[in-house]
């Protein structure tokens, strides 16, 4: 039998380790606290000064209400229909005004929303094949170390530069505009989505790869069937997630001139038409939220562990099932 002395020895060593861990936590917390305290001072963050501006801020925010949707469609602009009424009027003829505005070059909220959605979508679609190629080649399972770092490094370099900087790097191709915004978002997608693809590939099971290899399959077939087949649904899920991110990026690129809702917001604030700005912000909410809702619903259904035996078809069908939206089933 083990004697008490041995047990006590084990207890002492456990307690020592626990003490060391607590000390470490305390040191880390103290360090975070110190950097925050001195950092706020360094960047000139004065809570008192900012608080003094709160009344002005509230006054400013008050100027946003009520939101004015006058620029909702061409019809409401030309007929000077203001406020929320503009939305109702725009839909009153069964969609004719909306369709008319989509085909009109002028800045309307419906067209700006469409442009923003398209910028995010096109950037994602154009970036996807390059993200897939670099992402797969960046995995150590496909490209032997250290050559895979060539591709990983390229993706890191692309990722290090945000889309809003890329659009200025593309100035020789054209000023910040809708086409260069698509390019900038696509470039950003290559870096971000590619990295997610690589990480996903590193975590797959060896078994199916070995099984496919043992059938005498060629190297590309082993990659396709042993590896990519394992990550297929998660690749779709990540791409949908990046679509969400890209929609938001499209708005910020709009502010620097790429069109869409961002452009509308910059224009209206430039003219101190804050009530119209507010309408643009409401549209941003609607666009981003709807993309997020659709994408997160699809992604939730695609996760194989959470929803046993749910294919992509079921996921799309669920999208149109109101019971699921309301959580009734």
């Amino acid at each position: 039998m083990t004697d008490d002395a041995t047990i006590d020895g084990a207890r002492r060593s456990l307690r020592r380790r626990r003490r060391a861990r607590r000390l470490l936590v305390a040191v880390v917390l103290a360090a975070v606290g110190a950097v925050t305290y001195f950092g706020l001072d360094f960047v000139g963050f004065e809570a008192g000064e900012l608080a003094a501006g709160v009344p002005d801020f509230l006054d400013f925010v008050g100027g946003f209400f009520p939101p004015d949707f006058v620029a909702f469609t061409r019809y409401t602009i030309l007929n000077d229909v203001h406020g929320l009424e503009a939305v109702g009027v725009s839909f009153s003829d069964g969609g004719g005004h909306v369709a008319d505005s989509l085909g009109w070059e002028g800045v309307t909220l419906v067209r700006a929303s469409l442009v923003t959605l398209l910028l995010g979508f096109l950037g994602t679609v154009l970036g996807f094949p390059f993200a897939l190629a670099l992402g797969v080649l960046g995995s150590e399972r496909v490209t032997p170390f250290p050559f895979n770092f060539l591709f990983r490094g390229l993706m890191s370099a692309i990722r290090a530069i945000p889309a809003i900087v890329w659009i200025f790097l593309f100035v020789p191709l054209g000023p910040p505009s809708q086409p260069t915004a698509v390019l900038a978002i696509a470039t950003d997608t290559v870096g971000n989505l590619g990295r997610l693809f690589t990480d996903e590939l590193e975590e797959i099971e060896d078994g199916p790869i070995e099984a496919i290899r043992s059938t005498g399959a060629s190297r590309p077939q082993v990659v396709g069937f042993g590896m990519l087949s394992q990550v297929f649904t998660s690749y779709i899920a990540w791409t949908l997630y990046i679509l969400e991110v890209n929609t938001r990026i499209a708005i910020s690129l709009g502010v620097v001139g790429a069109g869409g809702l961002g452009y509308y917001i910059r224009n209206t604030t430039g003219m101190w038409a804050y009530r119209e700005t507010a309408a643009g912000i409401v549209m941003v909410f609607l666009v981003v939220l709807s993309i997020e809702l659709v994408s997160s619903r699809l992604r939730a259904r695609l996760r194989p562990d959470e929803h046993e035996a749910t294919g992509s078809l079921d996921a799309i069908r669920d999208l149109f099932d109101p019971d699921r939206w309301l959580g009734r089933s």
């Binding site: 083990t2 496919i212 043992s214 059938t215 005498g216 060629s218 069937f225 087949s229 394992q230 035996a309």
Partner: protein
């Protein structure tokens, strides 16, 4: 000519882990061989070497006279953890057995030739899963998954079928069922089969010839009649037998050795 032959095969992992220590073995065409031996005896290494998944450190391995790497798709393999792609249906998993004879574009599009599709369905029929052909592999039971694993190896249309502890993670009933399908398929298609097993009763039920591995060396090779309890003990406990086990698991409970 033997279907499978090993001549003084050694496999050393790293600098000093000897997995196979001079194994020589000949298997005739159509033979059903069961590999027995404790964990770490070298059974998996032997099967992986026969399949060309690992290369021996020294010695010769031949499958129908060729090195295993060249035999490629002539050797089918069933894995312990079935190794299916969970997101694909049973029939698509089975069809991957035909990748070696399907062009890349066709296989990438999942547009297998009609004969491969027919072979995949017929293999699923052989293992009693024709009705579940469209079911996702991930949603199947352990026994069903392993039967799909057998079907995939059959679609390969191999001459030699290898199985590495194919029923180790199944309950006794599912294990016997999988072994029955595997045994029947091997018989019908006249396959040379090498299976490693841990369950002695299942091994005795299906095996014709038994090869015992211990510490990387062949310590038993004979038909079912010769596989007595003593012979089994010799494979798992060595020459000294079960009674002289210097470290029997039960006796260590009190912290003292027997």
């Amino acid at each position: 000519m033997s279907a499978v032959s090993l001549d003084d095969v050694r496999k050393v992992y790293g600098s000093d882990t000897v997995a196979l220590d001079g194994v020589s073995l000949d298997v005739d065409p159509g033979e059903f061989v069961v590999l027995l031996g404790p964990s770490g005896a070298g059974k998996s290494t032997l099967l992986r070497a026969l399949n060309g998944l690992t290369a021996p450190t020294s010695g010769q391995i031949a499958v129908h006279g060729d090195p295993p790497a060249e035999a490629g798709s002539d050797v089918g393999m069933v894995f312990q953890e079935h190794n299916l792609v969970p997101s694909m249906s049973a029939v698509r998993n089975a069809a991957t057995g035909a990748l070696a004879r399907t062009s890349l574009p066709r296989s990438a599009l999942g547009a297998y030739p009609a004969d491969v599709e027919r072979a995949a369905l017929s293999a699923l029929d052989t293992v009693g899963l024709l009705d579940a052909a469209g079911q996702r592999a991930g949603s199947m039971s352990g026994g069903q998954k392993q039967r799909v694993g057998v079907a995939r190896a059959l679609v390969q249309d191999p001459d030699v079928l290898l199985a590495d502890e194919p029923v180790a993670s199944l309950d006794p009933r599912a294990a016997r069922e999988v072994m029955r399908y595997l045994h029947t398929a091997a018989g019908e298609r006249d396959l040379t089969t090498v299976v490693s097993l841990h369950q002695i009763n299942i091994a005795r039920e299906f095996g014709e010839r038994f090869v015992g591995l211990r510490d990387g060396a062949v310590v038993f090779d004979g038909p079912r009649e010769d596989l007595t309890m003593d012979a089994v003990d010799a494979i798992y406990y060595g020459e000294e037998g079960r009674d002289d086990d210097p470290d029997p698991p039960v006796a260590t409970l009190g912290g003292e050795t027997a």
